[in-house]
Amino acid sequence: MRGELNMERGKTILEVRNLKTHFRVGTEDISIVRGVSFSARQGETLAIVGESGCGKSVTVHSVMRLLPKNGRLAGGEALFFDGDTPRELHRLEPFGKEMRAIRGRKIGMIFQDPMASLNPVYRVGDQVAENLLQHFKLTKAEAKEKIIEMFASLGIPDPGRRILDYPHQFSGGMKQRVMIAIAMICNPDLLIADEPTTALDVTIQAQIMELMERLKREQRKAVILITHNMGLVAETADEVAVMYMGRIVERGRVERIFHNPSHPYTKALLRSVPVLGHGRAERLETIRGSTPSPAECVTGCEFANRCDFATTKCKTGTIPAYEVEGGHLARCVLFEGAKELPNE
């Protein structure tokens, strides 16, 4: 039951503190993720929202240590709680044994484009088996049984035969189910979905989200959902982090974010989403200006140039996060006077 504040919340699975990621472009070192903190809990969905290029994907790729060669972790911590032992992901060798043992086994990942996520030359069953056999000592027959079971639970009809098919014989929605099967087959504690439905049409989108909801509810998985679709956030998220230019500008429970959006960027973002009942004559609002280049933002609030409430204070120093209300924070000088949260 979302929305009940007194509900006992699940155990923290992933704790990210002040994560910073830099990319080397030519000789320049550009800061893409500028100190991001969040946590993912059992049985909850954390939605990370923001426009293209705001650093959503880079953030989770940093946590998974899957940055491209020109990217590096410049600071911060990412703690993954494996049972009760915290594993310091930020200290592990990106492609070392330990990190590889966590990837796929403890943290599953679903990608944006199911069409390109499967290798065209292998049967889908074998591709699911690969992840399973990478992390568990099972015989082929045992693996096959598990995979058929998983396919059936994900609503793939006739799983016994479908595991023998090649990716080109699957539709987009079915491919994404296969991807979810690959991500879930090792029973990871955390599922990261990087825009899982962007490439799919709306009805399939609903089915896939329903499926992920079920995994979260029934198996108490922690889910991190990256999206720019506010409708999806409202429907599935428990906690929302709004990102802009590499920072979380606002974070809180989903109902707080939608009922009381506090940061001017969140407000603008919500106003620019079409809703049913929108008047014909009304124009959909846009955010004026355009996203600056990450290299330009050095001091102050990254949103200041596009913000209707900007003051001179916004352009200097680092803007701290303020507590708007319990568990709801916004990084904006409008809340000066409220409790500062220096660790966020």
């Binding site: 590889r100 796929g104 390109a116």
Partner: protein, 287 residues
């Protein structure tokens, strides 16, 4: 739902059907295989020995006894062509496959790791490519001497660059594919991603490069042996048979001594090229 429509087919079966539909490729495959089999079972196909000298039947024109006639020492030309095919095909196929395998491995390493590994390997391949090929071959022959296996070695040394460059280029684009990232995201090792996931996707250009090399080596062997630099003259190969045609006298008066081996070489090279073309279409995973 569309996905419920049962398309029961295995990739192998589908590929086979595709190959059968492609007539030219099918002809190529059938002819090439028939010629290879005829060479392997030469002792059954013809009663004559390619080396048996018969002074009673010197330079006989084609007849029912000797379908392709006999040469100046009375040896049966058909037998020579069949037994010669053994060596010629063996040399070219092994040389090409060896070159492709080494090219594939090096290309995979260069394309996957990039950076220094890539630069060193690419420069090396460029040195080999920019050196005049025939000269390189002649120098190598001078160094290692004549012989069947030496020829294979020479072909391999001078031929690994094409498959290398093809595989490297494919790797450069394929390593950016989402499914490679998916593999990484599930903790699969570099070696497994390279050779199990990316390599099968590069197979179609490799097949083409290999068949082109096979055809090329057949011709090179013929050329080298014609010049007396390939396989020692005592071993019958397609090139060595042609060697007999170095004199004007033979070309004018004994047409069967050069026409038949020449035709056999052309037909085999064509068949291999057609087969390679067809295989490329069949094996292309993107189709």
């Amino acid at each position: 739902m569309a996905e419920q429509k049962k398309v029961k087919s295995s990739l192998a079966l589908r590929s086979w059907k595709k190959l059968v539909r492609n007539k030219l490729a099918m002809i190529g495959v059938v002819v090439a295989i028939a010629m290879i089999l005829a060479s392997i079972f030469a002792n059954i196909v013809t009663p004559y020995s390619p080396t048996k000298i018969d002074f009673a039947n010197m330079t006989k024109a084609p007849s029912l006894q000797h379908l392709m006639g006999t040469d100046k020492m009375g040896r049966d030309v058909l037998a020579q062509v069949l037994y010669g095919g053994r060596v010629s095909i063996y040399v070219s196929v092994v040389g090409a496959v060896l070159g492709s395998v080494v090219g594939m491995i090096l290309g995979g390493l260069a394309g996957w790791f990039g950076g220094k590994v890539d630069s060193i390997l690419v420069r090396t391949s460029e040195i080999f490519l920019t050196f005049p090929n025939m000269m390189l071959v002649l120098i190598l022959v001078a160094f290692v001497g004549q012989g069947v296996n030496n020829l294979i070695f020479i072909f391999f040394i001078t031929g690994w660059m094409t498959p290398f460059r093809m595989v490297r280029n494919e790797f450069l684009s394929l390593r950016e594919e989402t499914y490679v990232e998916v593999c990484k995201a599930f903790g699969i090792s570099d070696v497994s991603i390279m050779f199990r996931h990316i390599l099968p996707n590069t197979i179609s250009p490799i097949v083409v490069a290999t068949t082109i090399n096979i055809a090329n080596y057949i011709l090179q062997e013929a050329g080298l042996s014609f010049l007396g630099l390939g396989v020692p003259v005592t071993i019958p190969t397609w090139g060595n048979i042609m060697n007999a045609a170095t004199s004007i006298d033979v070309i004018r008066n004994y047409w069967w001594l050069w026409l038949f081996p020449g035709l056999v070489i052309s037909v085999f090279v064509l068949a291999v090229n057609f087969a390679g073309d067809g295989l490329r279409d069949v094996l292309d995973p993107k189709q």
